[in-house]
């Protein structure tokens, strides 16, 4: 972990930071920690990045660039939009703690511009004029980010068994609520506490977004 096998570079720092964020959460991504992981002085980071914010921007840009945009096709716009949104979700899901910062790079990173252009084209095909398409596209991206990063319980990374206990506890407190005041909440409790990270959660809500675009045309 603390060895120098190659020269430092923006890329190895970003990769290291991403791994660190995935393993121990975003708050573990520290200038000093990154330096230590690479067997280097903290100040060495400042040769490659102006400051920590620039480093985090690079992390976010890396995520945006990880989106594998599906090739344009003859399929109807809604099917294509669905595929694009899913591609974004697929790229973000492995890094939920970093995903929250992706939105601020979507109009900066090259890949983000391409992605935005693609979504705008599909929305135009759907019949939205440019101004509304812009608003919808912005919101769609933020929503997909929220879909991945929004887990309120997962602010820090936890071990699987610890997580299970926490879920059990949360479910218990919810089902212990007064049944006359919160009937639906109690019925939905298991889904409420465990839906994040589930495949059908993503599928259902990506559908919701696409159907929403259909609805507002």
């Amino acid at each position: 972990m603390a060895k120098r096998n190659q020269r430092l570079s923006r890329d190895v720092i970003v990769d290291c930071a991403m791994a660190l964020a995935d393993a121990e959460g975003l708050e573990a991504v520290t200038i000093r920690r990154l330096a230590q992981e690479n067997g280097v002085t903290p100040m060495a980071m400042y040769w490659h990045f102006n400051d920590k914010e620039a480093l985090l921007d690079a992390l976010a840009a890396h995520l945006v660039e990880a989106v594998k945009l599906p090739p344009p096709s003859e399929a109807p716009w809604d099917a294509q939009l669905r595929d694009v949104l899913e591609a974004i979700a697929v790229a973000l899901r492995p890094h939920p703690t970093v995903a929250g910062m992706a939105a601020r790079q979507v109009l900066v990173a090259d890949a983000g511009l391409e992605l935005t252009e693609r979504v705008l084209a599909l929305l135009a095909e759907a019949g939205l004029e440019p101004h509304r398409a812009a608003e919808v596209a912005t919101f769609l991206f933020c929503s997909v980010v929220a879909l991945v990063a929004g887990d309120p319980g997962q602010r820090e990374v936890v071990t699987p068994e610890d997580l299970e206990g926490r879920l059990r506890l949360k479910t218990a407190t919810l089902t212990a609520l007064p049944p006359t005041r919160f009937p639906h909440l109690i019925a939905a409790a298991p889904g409420l506490v465990s839906c994040f990270g589930q495949d059908d959660f993503f599928d259902l809500n990506l559908d919701l977004l696409v159907q929403g675009v259909r609805g507002i045309r």
Copy 2:
């Protein structure tokens, strides 16, 4: 700013923190700063809150409790759902920098439970079974939060004229892109950079969400 006119309490601290976050951004909300604003030692905060995270949780809970839930009515479920989502957005909009933390209190704060119950009831009325309703309700809340907090450019608070300059610059860089590769993006540039905080941005995308729920029934 630095005077003691009353005994400290959780409420005055939370109010102070909220004002601070609105004026100077979340990162200005500091134990030491809050103490200073109240003419008190930093350690005095720890009598009222276990740690900083508890303080931020209280901030988030305060936001959730600020939601003025519209009274149940005879209106169709989609109109009511639209009103509830709008009520959430209205409560969050004055505090965009804090809004991002609201999601993690929605199943903790009393008002959040009531709000969730209400949304779940409306989704049941729409015909969703409990499990899917849970997933949709969770996502809807996160989405509204993203709608308010998601502004990528507004991570720190800026003065109006500074903001305008920034928007102008962003628009310029976007419209300067190669027109053959990014036609839609260039056409939509003004909307992309300035849509956050606009009323019609909220209206349109809240409609999108409600229509999305209609679409997935």
